[in-house]
């Protein structure tokens, strides 16, 4: 069974809610997904996951200088190399994500050869497009209406 580790950093609960939706969606598709905060997750344990999804709320000054905040960066600094996992990033935002994903990718450095998903959600809930992107990322089938 495919395994997924969803790890989030949430300041107000919005990103946590999204992370839980992502985990629930993956489980519904037959993926063994765990959802933990950056405070609870063991960075070393991510080395064995097939899918790694790392999420953080978008911090910034209205429409400039968007960045992941310190608790997320601290967690990523402790991550081992993830050469075999498919790695995805997600964020919640209110206005724009701007430099959020570039900064998240930069923080990952050489731990992963590439990032396979960048998912941004305004608010806390997955959209249909977001679910479809997750399905492609996880290599599972998407239901069509």
């Amino acid at each position: 069974m495919t395994t997924a580790a969803v790890v989030y950093r949430s300041a107000t609960g919005t990103t946590r809610q999204l992370a839980e939706e992502i985990g629930a969606h993956l489980r519904a598709k037959g993926v063994d997904a765990t959802v933990r905060s950056v405070g609870d997750a063991d960075p070393a344990a991510l080395a064995t996951a097939d899918l790694v999804l790392l999420g953080c709320w978008t911090s910034g000054l209205f429409v400039i200088a968007q960045h992941p905040d310190e608790p997320w960066l601290a967690f990523v600094r402790d991550l081992p190399p993830l050469p075999n996992a498919r790695v995805g990033l997600f964020t919640t935002y209110k206005l724009v994500t701007g430099s959020m994903f570039p900064r998240m990718r930069a923080a990952l450095g050489g731990r992963t050869p590439h990032v396979d998903l960048e998912l941004k959600v305004r608010g806390a809930h997955l959209t249909d497009a977001g679910r479809a992107a997750l399905d492609r990322f996880a290599g599972v089938a998407t239901e069509t209406a």
């Binding site: 950093r9 949430s10 405070g39 609870d40 911090s59 608790p71």
Partner: protein, 157 residues
């Protein structure tokens, strides 16, 4: 005596902290503050006599019940309840406490400050921990600026 920056730094350098008065409601400040500390890798232990767990984490009725003991206690109750919590902290040999202060006063009052002093506790009072956490959200940065403008931000020493 006003809280100094050293007292703030010393409290935030603790690893295992009781958070007294954590609500089960994720919209309450006490809950988000507890989660914030957990996400910053503090061993933050919830204390609330009304429940035995919050989000699957064991919750204790009193600081005296926590084993192993905590290094300090962040008190996010009303000032009335905080008086009793301070007595419990002293009895449990918890010397460092933080009397949350924010909108509406929180756990800080003249009485709780005097009680902490009488019990020989090292108390941070009238302040919100969010203001001092690295990379804290903008709202809390603005709160700190407001404190600096009014001269109520802790000074070095």
């Amino acid at each position: 005596m006003p809280t100094s920056m050293n007292q703030v730094d010393e409290f935030l350098a603790l690893k295992r902290i009781a958070v007294v008065g954590v609500s089960r409601n994720p919209k309450e400040l006490s809950y988000t503050l507890w989660q914030e500390l957990r996400q910053r890798r503090y061993d933050a232990i919830p204390v609330n006599p009304s429940t035995t767990e919050i989000d699957g984490v064991p919750c204790y009725p009193s600081v005296a019940d926590i084993v192993p003991a905590v290094d300090g206690a962040l008190i996010v109750t009303t000032a009335g309840v905080a008086e009793q919590v301070l007595e419990q902290c002293a009895a449990a040999a918890i010397r460092k406490v933080w009397l949350y202060g924010g909108l509406g006063g929180g756990a800080t009052s003249d009485v709780t400050i005097r009680t902490a002093d009488r019990l020989g506790l090292e108390a941070v009072s009238g302040l919100c921990p969010y203001m001092f956490l690295p990379g804290t959200p903008a709202f809390h940065v603005m709160h700190a600026w407001g404190k600096k403008l009014t001269g109520s931000y802790p000074k070095a020493g």
